[in-house]
Amino acid sequence: MAAAPHNRWVILLTFLLALMLSAMPLPEYVEWGRPQWVALTLIYWVAALPNRVGPWQAWMLGLLLDILQGSLLGIHALSLAVIAYIIQLLHRRFRMYPVWQQAMLVLVLIGTYQMALQWAQTLTGTGSDTLLFLLPSLISTLIWPWLFVVLRSVRRALQVR
């Protein structure tokens, strides 16, 4: 991987967009199913460029998300770093998977992420008593193939390295 970095701002830009999408106000009934944009984008970039985006970058991104959402400082950071680490371990296999199989892995990862968040929220007394909090992971799974295609074409068009 001796290639010099090229067009790295694209990565930052997509993360910024993801942060904005996750802070966008939505009607209450849609809010329960809001896809985890930041986690999805992170999964894509770690799988595509594991030497550029990894747990450290995920940690910083998670801190931003924590501040943005006013959650327990560090909980998004920790969960995203774990996701990034797992994907970094698996990225060769992950790239070979067909898109639907990737989506299944995304379901598991984002499900774990939501569980971790839910634990932290229960600690601070604002947990949910239904399993409905897992809904975003299902929606994220459905969105993954489209997001994957879009981000891949962006990466190829701009030759992000």
Binding site: M20, R34, Q69, L73, G125, S128
Partner: protein, 272 residues
Amino acid sequence: MAHYRGYLTLLVTPVQWLVDVPTRVWMTVNSKITDRDALQQENGRLRSDILLMSRQLQRMDDLTTENARLRLLLNGSRRLDERVQLAELIGVNADPFIHQIVINKGLRDGAYLGQPVLDENGIMGQLVEVGPYTSRVLLITDNQHALPVQVDRSGFRALLLGNGSKQSLRLDHVPDTADIQVGDLLLSSGLGGRFPAGYPVAEVSEIVHDPGRPFALVRAVPRARLDKSRHLLLVTRQEPPLLDGPIADPVAAPPTASAPASSGSSASGGQP
């Protein structure tokens, strides 16, 4: 810690600002293309509102003086006029379990931790995180929020708890014999030292007397339009707050042990 955390929000203030751009553009466009008829109608409505309110204000002047005089007679504590500042909503917490909003006032505008936030109908919540330019409001419907209130009609005091639903609040530890009815207005009692006394908070919507439970189940609907108001009021208290502890202390409310004596308390502290 909460103080330093406020400065961290500087990092995400641009994001919040960007997210708010479409709404602001829409509002600008909307105000530019409103037609003349609608404006005139609104103008007429506002004029009649002003008339009604100035009439109330005239009575209010009289009552305020009388109140001050009576308090002087009773050697009671003074109740000063609060200073009010207008703030605007710029963000809503994306997590459905956390009822928080972000407003465009911060340390630069004199906002402080624990400052009460109102809209035109009643109390909305308090500041839990104050950054240089923005701050975060914990709404009264959040699971973590509690607010000492008093029934306007009878003077009965209780704690109003948020329970994570946007349209309902719960009154804590209300005995079955308490003087409270559906439709009663709940005012802030000011006992926690954080919220000013006498502002409307909620209206009692449902009372269930279940023989199997030690207390009555009382639900209330918030008066403030928590999910609709875009313009909010920040109230600055002139007197120093009674309690200067961490944020979770609005719970420092009236002892519920005094609740069974509700008829007595209404005789001594309630409205005639």
